[in-house]
């Protein structure tokens, strides 16, 4: 009898072992090691209290990375979700060739970010790049897309928006199936304008999808690193350094695992705080269909 009670746990065990080993243990380990000196000048990790955190909070570079990450995330999330909703609403209207448009907006999901970053890097080339060639053709001056510290973050953000918008659009389309045609017809007859239909009918009916897409977009924004590694290496003058790339730099370029651990701990705690906050506020208001 006792053995039988253990059987359910055996089913969960294989997945749980890997879940623990590569998600929960590392999260805890990073938090633990964040209180240690652990870099090239220490043979063994040595307890350091809050040293790593203090060091980070006092460094301008850290705050620049935080500011880059916040700017990147807000512009990426805002632009990609709004554009995705807009595309989904338009595609939902048309009867023919819907699948062509869907595939056309969705295909960047199939392209590895590493390849996408290469493509965009070459399109951004100052002299031979596609974008500047067109700017010149229409009499505008060339832009140094990836080497101008005031523009590079914007250029990198564009890649993210291009890569993810189609995926979010697809998720919005799944949500729009919850909006009955009859309801939209009725609203039109009653004379509701486009904005009223969007805010009073569509958004409330897809609020659970919207909420879910928002959370995915937040995670996609904060985990962004491939394009930074390939296109800018965080430069010029640190202007495109995002949090995960910064962790990589501290850990694998400067071999300062203590600082990298402190950053990891801060990233995970912020992620969990943001998501719990959203669940506690918006999550309650979200309309779930049964």
């Amino acid at each position: 009898m006792k053995v039988r009670r253990l059987i359910p746990y055996l089913y969960v065990l294989p997945a749980f072992v890997f879940l623990f080993l590569f998600t929960y243990y590392p999260a805890g380990f990073a938090l633990f090691r964040s209180f240690f000196h652990w870099n090239t000048s220490f043979i063994q990790p040595e307890f350091a209290g809050l040293f790593n955190y203090r060091q980070l909070l006092q460094s301008r570079r850290f705050w620049q990375v935080v500011s880059n990450t916040v700017i990147y995330s807000l512009s990426f999330i805002g632009a990609s979700t709004i554009l995705a909703l807009f595309l989904a609403v338009q595609i939902n209207k048309i009867k023919r060739a819907g699948s062509f448009y869907k595939a056309t907006f969705f295909y960047p999901t199939m392209i590895p970010m590493a390849a996408a970053a290469m493509i965009w890097m070459f399109m951004y080339l100052p002299d031979y790049g596609l974008i500047n060639a067109y700017l010149r053709r229409y009499g505008m001056s060339s832009v140094n897309w990836l080497n101008d510290r005031n523009i590079a973050l914007f250029s990198v953000t564009m890649v993210g928006i291009w890569k993810y918008t189609g995926y979010y659009m697809l998720l919005f389309l799944a949500g729009l199936r919850n909006v009955p045609d009859e309801l939209m017809d009725a609203a039109m007859i009653e004379g509701a304008n486009g904005r009223q239909r969007l805010f009073k009918i569509i958004l409330p009916l897809i609020s659970s999808h919207l909420f879910f897409i928002l959370i995915i977009a937040i995670i996609n924004a904060l985990e962004a690193v491939d394009q930074i590694y390939i296109m800018t290496q965080g430069g010029p003058s640190n202007s495109t350094n995002l949090i995960v790339y910064f962790i990589y730099q501290q850990g694998f370029r400067f071999w300062d695992m203590g600082t990298a651990s402190a950053l990891t701990a801060m990233l995970i705690v912020s992620l969990l705080l943001i998501v719990s906050f959203l669940f506690a506020t918006l999550g309650k208001k979200v309309y779930y269909e049964v």
Binding site: Y11, V12, P14, F16, F18, L19, F22, P26, A27, F29, A30, Q90, I94, S99, F100, K102, A103, T104, F105, F106, Y107, T109, M110, I111, P112, A114, A115, M118, I119, W120, F122, M123, L125, Y128, L130, A133, R136, W162, Y167, L170, L171, A174, G175, D185, S208, F212, L222, E223, Y229, I230, V244, Y248, F252, M257, S261, T264, I268, L271, L272, Y288
Partner: protein, 280 residues
Amino acid sequence: MKFDRKFDRSVVSAYVILTPLALLMLVPLVFMFTTSVKTLGDILSLEFQWIPQRLALENFQRVVEVMPFTRYLYNTASIVAMTFLVQSVTISLAAYAFARLRFAGRDLLFFLFLVQLMIPATSIIIPNYQTIRAFGILNTRLAVGMVYFASAYGTFLMRQAFRAIPRDLEDTAKLDGCNGLRVIQHVLLPLTKPSLVAFAFVSGTFHWNNFFWPLLVTDTARARTLTVGLAMLTQATESTPEITITMAAAVMITAPLFILFILFQKPFIESFAGAGALKG
């Protein structure tokens, strides 16, 4: 009845809005293809040409010369296959327990699974690298795939699928003396194949395209994947003219998945849209 007349204008405007945006969206793809068959002369002309002077197919030949393409292809394909196979075992077992069995702490455990969705793998590269090093498996294909062996998303997806299957079917099987494992294997999995296939599309795409983790844990051709090889290519050859070869390589690493996508467009798209079911 439908009020088609009222809709006409908005349908036309939808096409008018969508078409230029769709074309714009395609620019990077076309750019990749056209650059991959250009010659240096085409690249160096300041006027951008969409159609190259001649098809420089030798670029693809050059890719195979400058990088061990078939080795990377073999590594990538085997990592994708291995990861999916192990995942399908771990997620089916866990999903069965969460969908069908009662045990203390079930909801808490399920919650712990879901929290994994909030912790992206790239955020914990530092401690995971330490673990992989401690295991002594740096620079192996196992190291690339192993950290993904448990999938919260897959577990959730299969749990939903199992719950939609009527219990009577299993009860009959159980009367015939099937235990849980055999019920999963002979009753539940055959009936939930579409969900497992959907997961295969999502997992396969993710691991085919995965870049940063494989980059960190591999340092020779022995375990490197295609995406890592692509990045190595530009670091080895920094001069601008090499962009033709880099784009040829990008075409080659993207092509297998892309061809699959074109052939199985509908199931692919539906699999990804299925992630929308993941809410609440």
